[in-house]
Amino acid sequence: MEAVRVESIRYVYPDGTVGLEEASLTIEEGEFLAFIGQNGSGKTTLAKNIAGLLKPTEGRVLVYGQDTREVPMSKMATLVGYIFQNPDHQLFNQTVYDEIAYGPRNLKLPEDEVEERVREAMEIVGLPESFREGHPFFLTRGLRQRVAIASILAMRPRVIIVDEPTTGQDFRQSIDIMDFLLKLNREHGHTIVIITHDMPIVAKYAQRTVVMAWGRILLDGPTRWVFSQVEVLAEAHIKPPQVTRLAQRLADLGVPPDVLTVEEMVGAVEALLSRSQ
């Protein structure tokens, strides 16, 4: 089922800066995508157009068949949730409970349904019940980010866009948050879009990658294929993950040039060694 259709949109910011030019793509329900590119490349502008936070200057964006210019914000919030890079940009309530309940209450859901959704969202992101009455600002950054995600999940949006989920996080925190997004994707059927500079994370988690530069989509395809397009990536000043670059340097020895992870690299070396015995 088609979740998102972006039809040759152009987006111009109020100050005249062109954010997007001729951008088109479709996203099927259940995909896990990454948008990559330098700052100013248009990846966030594209994501915000998909979320309906920005409306295209020309062209149109359809989310589950509905034009983002015509869908009311309350309905839009149940279709696409946008999680900001800095959780503090979206937290404003006095307790964790009120923060997560804010969206469902705006949907005018009965309070027992609100309660149920808050409980469920807190469980999914791993926030203990005892946090309910705590003030979001007294939590650590990692926990505030979980509150931010829970408040989006409580709306049960079918598409979830996460802006730089691993920036400022350490190794363990990055893996935790990405494994959690993968779980939402695999077990709960959410379509996930991450916006990131973290190439190893893209290689490990995203099935499909969209490369942006100068407000345009340069590449759009399976992550494995995208990282093998060395020349186009160089134009966008993007380096494939270190392990992929290692494989590409060893192509003359028969190492596949589209290795994405450490496990694949080790497997490729083992295969080459056993073949020759």
Partner: protein
């Protein structure tokens, strides 16, 4: 001679548990030290102990001793210590004060009361080292790209010619181009300016080959302190302590475990390529 001496340092913020739990550390003049470790291990707290912000500006309890460029941080003001220790934050904008790049870099120099020709000389030197073109001088710092902003922030610290420069995750907020630019500046600093450099970083791909020494801070304690070649030898130990060694190190480590390679862990992509060629060459 050691330019930084830390002995039995313990620190807790008002109302918190011990954040630093007995740190002993000695850094020689001219060393390039990388400090790594998961979040909330005390890396930034340790950095603030070295520039005197702790204990001078934070309420809390300190035990032990920190001596920086001959100054015991308990007996000297932050301003005095700042003459020896420059500090670069993750977010360059948080330290901008001026309307143009030129004013930003010259700001502290004017405050130091230096003669005009010396200010000009230092300005030119700092901009050259950080590769900021002359026509940027009149631009407002906030109009620059992320990498350029961080380079201006570094230039404004360098211009003061501190003996010690501490950079707290200088690339964490930058895009790939910006990261590369800042790493290039660090490389140039190491090459042409013999300052003592302490860098806090998560992503070690670019820092590992630059560092003379790597320190793992974990839950307020120094768990490892060694030259990079020795530090990265035990990849499993690092992974167990939530440190992310570069992928090529993990690859070679896995091959060693399987008996397919027995050389050292590579620090760079080039070294990894040689290691893999050797492993595959045994066919």
């Amino acid at each position: 001679m050691a330019i930084i001496e830390v002995e039995g340092l313990r620190w807790r913020y008002l109302g918190s548990d011990w954040v630093l739990k007995g740190i002993d550390l000695s850094v020689e003049e001219g060393e390039f030290v990388a400090v790594v470790g998961p979040n909330d291990s005390g890396k930034t707290t340790l950095a603030m102990c070295l520039n005197g912000l702790i204990p001078n500006n934070y309420p809390g309890v300190m035990e032990g001793r920190v001596v920086v460029d001959g100054m015991d941080t308990r007996e000297h003001s932050v301003a005095e210590i700042a003459r020896s220790v420059g500090f670069v934050f993750p977010d360059p904008e948080s330290q901008f004060l001026s309307m143009t790049v030129e004013e930003e870099v010259a700001f502290a120099l004017e405050n130091m009361g230096l003669p005009v020709d010396e200010i000009e000389e230092r300005l030119e030197w700092a901009l050259r080292l950080t590769k900021i073109p002359e026509d940027y001088l009149e631009k407002p710092p906030y109009e620059l790209s992320g990498g350029e902003k961080q380079r201006v922030a570094i230039a404004s610290i360098l211009a003061m010619r501190p003996k010690i420069i501490i950079l707290d995750e200088p690339t964490s907020m930058l895009d790939p181009i910006g990261k590369t630019e800042v790493i290039e500046v660090l490389r140039e600093m190491k090459r042409s300016y013999n300052a003592t450099v302490i860098v806090i970083e998560h992503r070690l791909e670019d820092i590992a080959p630059l560092a003379d020494r790597v320190i793992l801070l974990y839950r307020g304690e120094v768990l490892r302190d060694a030259p990079p070649r020795e530090f990265f030898e035990d990849v499993d130990f690092l992974l167990e302590h939530d440190v992310f060694p570069p992928d090529v190190m993990v690859v070679v480590n896995e091959l060693r475990k399987r008996g397919l390679y027995n050389g050292p862990i590579p620090l760079t992509l080039e070294e990894a390529e040689r290691a893999l060629r050797e492993a595959l060459g045994r066919r």
